[in-house]
């Protein structure tokens, strides 16, 4: 090249200086701020997305959601800000709906049992087989349709189907709210669940209701809770009476650990103190005691040993609670009860006593208290038959049900969820023909002769009349937001209508769709919407039906805030002053504990155990994931020589056992252990199978004597150390998490 060294050095020098000089003039400001010029996809978002309003069907509460859809794929679930129940908010569980839609283990075509295996068949063939079976059935009363609690037009359709064909239907829910509904009916005379106005409440007394996590309508209550805490007015207080330190108890200002089953006695004792000390509403007190006054409740005096034994709460504490509850300065006050409080042999007694406290202090039909819901806007949706579709059957009903000949199951898994005593498995095995509508091969579906893969709710039509509603009339609309992911799935309602036609049931005219050829769920919804349109009031009004239809789909539903139920309580039903029957199944030998099972904040009662996001969502208290564990008091565990991760054998009456690791923490009552339910699946896809154990299999099957509901909190168990130990998968680190020093992570302050 003929370059000398000197030349080379010269040029390098010049170019270096030049580079520096040029850069000095040219460096753009961003670069001085060291902003990388390298784009991320995050910086260049150009895709067009569509948002569709629909309903979340991950839980019975049915919140309004909007789905982000990009290029035909659902990408994100968000709360529908317009929808009255959840007002833009949602829960961990609703996000995971996407994973149900795109789950790798979804069933994508109809399957028929051949021997031990299921083989694919066509929909035509599947329907032919059902019609063959059902058309020729001699005793149609032996037909049983088992679904989750249905509401709205789906409930209407199902009830018409059963009426037209014959047979029965039963709604299944793992931990049913039978006792709750009965107590609301008996105390307030209401068939629908009421509104708990947590938002405006200033003193909230909750008995066993894990309302921030899983109870009834947690998103709605959480939203209200934020307002109770730091809303525009004075900060409200929350006292949780609970045998378990639930997520809700952890958030309470005070947690009153109570013996399982003793909640009602505690509430009665409070009522006694309130009446004795002349607090509360005198007229209500008279009505509640049939004029007997506090004397009528003397058995529940906090000073009696019996009360202390039943509740485990000191007399002084009960008096304090009663006084605080009746203190006018604390108003509005509210008492709510549910969960474990209603899940004992004394369940109905407990809940009646708890809800009656509201009557005693005048917290019914007031802001911050208990308010009632009006009936649905469309009369056909409030017939007793349709309403009954929304009410789950009690455990006793399952146990005593007549064995069906043809069983049709839709979207529920009683084989996993019902305690062994109910013998549902035998009912399935005994039936001649079992059809399961299901998206996943869960334990129940696996036993079916015919498996019909359903659309997920994101691919299907539907509607909902929320129960509990927000205090006024609402109908939520559910629309398909994406086209079906698998070509071989169908909507349950569409298929039921088609079956009705094939069986010659004349469903269409019963549903008022005689003028439509081969109607579908969409047509049924439209016919309902047309009636709503004609009513011409509420959130969506339009000059044409098409405009109205688009309007309700866009907003996710229709509601009318003017339709408030001000009826109040028609007559106050007196308290049941007899001492309740608090019995508990006993554990054989060994050190016995009260077992308090609980519903998981993420996988719920187990119907969401197949979704990896939810399996991987830490339990709020323990941060445990992908597992079942036994919560035990730290001290007790020390006494028993147990440390975190040691496996224990938990044995209940009748030698039912499960084995799970211990997680000791300081907030477990020493005589109690608690375990989440919902795991221990033997089928249900790769993310559920083999994870944890089925806690429900421990339950002895005691029931509430009056409602027949499963007394799932009435079990005692023996806990014995096994010689295994595991590292429990969890999010927290390996140290006990306490504030380390004055530079606290969570700083606290006293109320203003």
């Amino acid at each position: 090249m003929g370059i000398t060294r000197r030349q080379f050095l010269k040029w390098s020098g010049v170019s270096a200086v030049g580079a520096v000089a040029f850069n000095g003039c040219l460096i753009p400001e961003q670069e001085l701020q060291i902003e990388s010029p390298v784009f991320l996809p995050e910086d260049l978002v150009n895709g067009i997305d569509n948002w569709y309003a629909t309903l979340c069907r991950m839980d019975p509460e049915g919140c309004g959601i909007i789905i982000r859809v990009v290029e035909g794929r659902a990408k994100k679930v968000e709360g529908n800000p317009d929808y009255p129940i959840n007002q833009g908010k949602h829960h961990a569980r609703s996000e995971a709906g996407l994973q149900a839609l795109y789950h790798p283990d979804r069933i994508s075509e109809p399957l028929a049992r051949e021997g031990d295996a299921h083989v694919p068949i066509s929909w035509d063939e599947a329907r032919r087989r059902i019609v063959d079976r059902m058309a020729g059935m001699s005793d149609r009363s032996k037909f049983l349709l088992v679904t989750q609690p249905l509401r709205g037009h789906q409930a209407l359709l199902a009830s018409e189907f059963v009426k037209a064909y014959g047979g029965r239907s039963m709604a299944y829910e793992t931990l049913e709210q039978v006792t709750l509904r009965r107590s609301i009916l008996e105390v307030f005379g209401q068939e629908r669940l009421p509104v708990f106005d947590i938002q405006a409440c200033k003193y909230l007394l909750s008995f066993g209701a894990d309302f921030l996590s899983t109870w009834v309508s947690p998103v709605k209550y959480s939203r209200g809770y934020g307002e109770l805490r730091q809303g525009s007015s004075r900060r409200g207080l929350h006292v949780q009476v609970d045998p378990r330190f639930s997520m809700t108890a952890a958030n309470a200002d005070e947690w009153v650990p109570v013996k399982p089953g003793g909640e009602g006695v505690l509430a009665m004792s409070m009522a006694y103190v309130i009446m004795r000390d002349g607090l509360g509403d005198q007229a209500a007190a008279d009505a509640l005691t049939g004029g007997g006054g506090h004397e009528a409740l003397s058995a529940f005096s906090p000073d009696s040993q019996q009360v202390r034994d039943a509740t485990g709460v000191e007399a002084g504490r009960i008096k304090e609670l009663a006084h605080a509850f009746a203190d006018p300065r604390n108003r509005p006050v509210m008492a709510i009860g549910g969960g474990s409080a209603g899940a004992h042999t004394s369940g109905l007694f407990n809940l009646r006593a708890i809800y009656s406290l509201n009557v005693l202090v005048g917290s019914v039909n007031t802001p911050g208290g208990i308010q009632f819901n009006p009936p649905p806007p469309l009369p056909e949706l409030s017939t007793t038959d349709v309403m009954a579709m929304g009410v789950p059957a009690s455990y006793r009903e399952w146990k005593e049900m007549d064995r069906p000949q043809v069983l049709m199951i839709r979207g529920v898994n009683p084989v996993h969820g019902l305690p062994a005593d109910a013998n549902f498995r035998a009912a399935v095995e005994g039936a001649e023909f079992v059809v399961a509508f299901s998206s996943f091969m869960d334990e129940t579906t696996a036993m079916a002769d015919l498996v019909l893969p359903e659309h997920t709710y994101l691919e299907d039509w539907g509607d909902d009349v929320p129960d509990p509603g927000p205090g006024y009339q609402v109908i939520g609309f559910q629309q398909p937001v994406v086209s079906p992911f698998h070509a071989g799935t169908r909507g349950f309602a569409d298929e039921l209508m088609a079956l009705g036609r094939a069986l010659g049931l004349d469903l269409d005219s019963r549903l008022g769709l005689a003028n439509v050829t081969d109607p579908t769920m969409e047509d049924l919804l439209k016919s309902g919407a047309e009636k709503l349109w004609e009513v011409d009031r509420g959130s969506v009004r339009a000059s044409s039906f098409d405009g109205f239809w688009n309007g309700v789909l866009q907003r996710g539903g229709w509601w009318d805030t003017g339709t408030v139920d001000n009826s109040g309580i028609r007559n106050i039903s007196p308290l049941d002053t007899a001492w309740p029957d608090i019995s508990i199944s006993d554990a054989p030998g060994g050190r016995a504990f009260n077992l308090v099972p609980f519903v998981s904040n993420s996988i719920g009662d187990g119907h969401l155990a197949h979704l990896p996001w939810l399996q991987a969502t830490p339990d709020p208290i323990t941060t445990i994931v992908w597992h079942t564990w036994v919560e035990m008091n730290t001290r007790t565990a020390e006494e028993m020589g147990l440390s975190k991760g040691d496996m224990v054998v938990v044995t209940a009456e009748g030698n039912r056992t499960v084995e799970a690791p211990v997680y000791p923490h300081p907030a477990v009552p020493p005589d109690t252990v608690s375990m989440p339910i919902g795991q221990g699946h033997t089928a249900f896809g790769q993310y559920a199978e083999g994870v944890g154990v089925n806690t429900l299999s421990l339950l002895a099957g005691l029931t509430d004597s009056s409602t027949g509901a499963l007394a799932w909190a009435a079990t005692r168990v023996r806990v014995v150390k096994s010689n295994l130990s595991i590292d429990i998968p969890r999010f927290e680190g390996n140290q006990f998490a306490e504030e380390a020093d004055e530079q606290a992570i969570i700083k606290i302050t006293k109320p203003e």
């Binding site: 996000e95 995971a96 947690w255 009552p669 700083k747």
Partner: protein
């Protein structure tokens, strides 16, 4: 790209008294940001990735026991210790008050994670695995991270970009006179949080909720504090103290 035509300083106010520990924010963030599925194994290996996570602290013994929850995520420190230590500028401060992570540049030294005061940087020890069909749910606006790189809360910068493009006309389009307002741009966690414990906004916008809350709470009289303030990271996240009816004056922490 951002321009300096309109200045923003994004930040969050977290009301610890409202937070119930419900984990909605956690799953919302998981869904929005293509965070890999945390398997049982990664939890055992203590390598689970959660850009926002809820920490639970215990106090006391039964029956006088308390558990408190606090959502923790990148504090977008003004004086971020993670930034100067990164040898390749894979993490830097943008001019809107955010700490940004450029996955492309990251070589995976993990130094930034060591120096992050809040332990909110997550390293991809394994290549994320998605079953084919679940890939359909992935957010096209967010990069998929491969193994060997660091990731963390981005304040949902993809949503910012979109909002800025739509409202302010930034990113190469004709600039408008409009300015992002409250609610034009909300991170997924904030949107989800059922108790409204998370409030997001622009500290430079005097009308924003966060500015009001900051004014109300951060000058010694309210409940405001910044986490681990003594380290000097100057976070853009303000926490509001948990109210405890049993607290004396202020049991823990400086005023």
């Amino acid at each position: 790209m951002t321009t300096n035509r309109i200045s923003h300083k994004w930040g969050m106010v977290v009301d610890v008294d409202r937070c119930t520990g419900c984990q909605s924010c956690v799953v919302a963030c998981q869904a929005e940001n293509n965070i890999p599925i945390n398997t049982e194994d990664v939890f055992r290996q203590r390598r689970a990735i959660q850009w926002i996570h809820v920490e639970r602290y215990w106090e006391g013994e039964f029956p006088d026991v308390r558990a408190r929850f606090i959502p923790v995520f990148c504090q977008h420190c003004e004086n971020a210790p993670c930034e100067p230590v990164c040898p390749v500028y894979a993490t830097y401060h943008n001019n809107q008050g955010m700490n940004v992570q450029v996955y492309n540049r990251c070589v995976g030294t993990r130094y930034c994670a060591n120096n992050c005061t809040y332990n909110v940087r997550f390293f991809n020890y394994w290549e994320p695995v998605w079953p084919e069909s679940l890939r359909n749910q992935l957010n096209p606006d967010v990069s998929m991270r491969s193994r060997g790189i660091m990731e963390k809360c981005s304040f949902n910068v993809q949503r910012l970009q979109k909002a800025q493009r739509v409202v302010e006309g930034q990113q190469g389009e004709r600039l408008t006179d409009e300015k992002l307002k409250e609610g034009n741009y909300l991170p997924a966690c904030v949107q989800a949080c059922p108790t409204n414990a998370l409030v997001f906004g622009d500290f430079l916008d005097p009308d924003s909720q966060v500015s009001h809350l900051k004014e109300e709470h951060l000058d010694g009289h309210g409940r405001g504090y910044k986490m681990l303030e003594h380290v000097g990271t100057e976070p853009n996240v303000i926490y509001l103290k948990k109210v405890d009816i049993h607290a004396k004056e202020v049991v823990k922490g400086h005023a």
